[in-house]
Subunit: 207 residues, 2 copies
DNA sequence: GTCTATACATCGATAGAC
DNA sequence: GTCTATCGATGTATAGAC
């Protein structure tokens, strides 16, 4: 029985470590909300998870590595918030998708900063973490494709609209809905513009 | 001659101090671009302006106070970039105004962070500095009023569009023009939306 | 995997002489 | 206004025992 001896004892040990790591990341977010993203202290973090500061290095190799864990965690949260199916026609699905994104941005300033802004000077997500980000952008593209939007310029404009709503919401009305409630209007404005430009180009081919 | 003795000697002395302060702020921006906004070191800054670190406290009272000087300086730069008169009809003036703002955002990441994002945890601009920000937003409102846009919701949507273009530009194509060149399209999209909604409400009064 | 102990650098800010 | 000297804290990271 080469398997049982290991599979039964090692697996729970790994599960314990994963659970502890999840706790560490959760507390790290909490500290970031309190002191700012760049001001997370490993001493404070260790104290919150009942460890001594050097023991944290059993869970990540450096502070940037911790940011990477948080980055991946943040995109997992984003996917969890944005991916669930939405009933209705494609336009309505897109509106609700945008509303979810803007809402997500406004829920957590530092999460928004780590995921969408360049707040930590030297930080670059690892390829594994970046894959989660790509997964999200693929999801966004598919929501756009459903309403017939696939041109790169259109996608760029759309991304600016969404990021602008989220940014204004969190910067000027945190916790409120002053920009969240413009989601539907902005989507309709965008779709009307795409239609208008499509009409203007009609009959001229695909140039 | 109570005046001459003071007016002649004190004024140049003050002018010297102002010039030195301007140098300090300029070098602070340079350090921020190199190390990040939060990582500005007063020792490094002092070395760059040929002072010892404690001597900086003759020019500002704390590090937050330095950020306040930079905040005010940044908005003065923004006003200098955005305020110059533009020839042409109101629509063209608005397009050019937006292009200037997006361009301004993309020119300096840390300036963009200090002016438009909440990167420094405890920092709040002083009332004097904030007045410059208000001056800018008044300018933006007047550009909008020229094309007949005055409703708060319209202004909110417009602000989201502009900030979204700037944000995407600096986050995903720093130094390029991928979103800058969408400025005119976005303005036209916005104006068409305002018109469309105005038409939809016509004859129904001011509700 | 967690600990103690510690290295080593850096930080913002203050005291007090000139 | 600028200096020297220094305080007190904090930061990340490593060595080595258990």
């Amino acid at each position: 029985m080469a398997t049982s001896g290991e599979a039964i004892t090692v697996a729970p040990r790994q599960r314990r470590k994963d659970a502890k790591l999840a706790t560490i990341v959760r507390e790290a977010w909490d500290l970031a909300r309190r002191d700012g993203l760049a001001a997370i202290s490993l001493r404070d973090l260790a104290a919150r998870v009942d460890l001594r500061q050097p023991s944290l290095y059993a869970y990540f190799e450096s502070k940037h590595d911790l940011y990477d864990l948080m980055f991946a965690d943040g995109y997992r949260q984003l996917l969890a918030a944005a991916a669930p199916e939405i009933a209705g026609d494609p336009r309505r699905r897109l509106v609700e998708f945008v509303r979810r994104l803007v809402q997500f941005s406004t829920e957590d300033l530092v999460r928004h900063q780590l995921l969408f802004q360049r707040t930590i000077p030297g930080f670059e997500p690892s390829p594994e973490s970046y894959r989660l980000a790509v997964e999200f952008y693929d999801l966004a593209r598919s929501r756009l494709a459903e309403v017939g939007v696939t041109a790169p310029d259109d996608i760029d404009v759309f991304s600016a609209l969404v990021s602008g709503l989220g940014h204004q919401q969190i910067a000027n009305d945190p916790g409120g809905d002053r920009w969240v409630r413009q989601s539907e209007r902005v989507v309709d404005m965008f779709l009307a513009d795409v239609d208008r430009r499509r009409g203007a180009n009609d009959g001229r081919g695909t140039t």
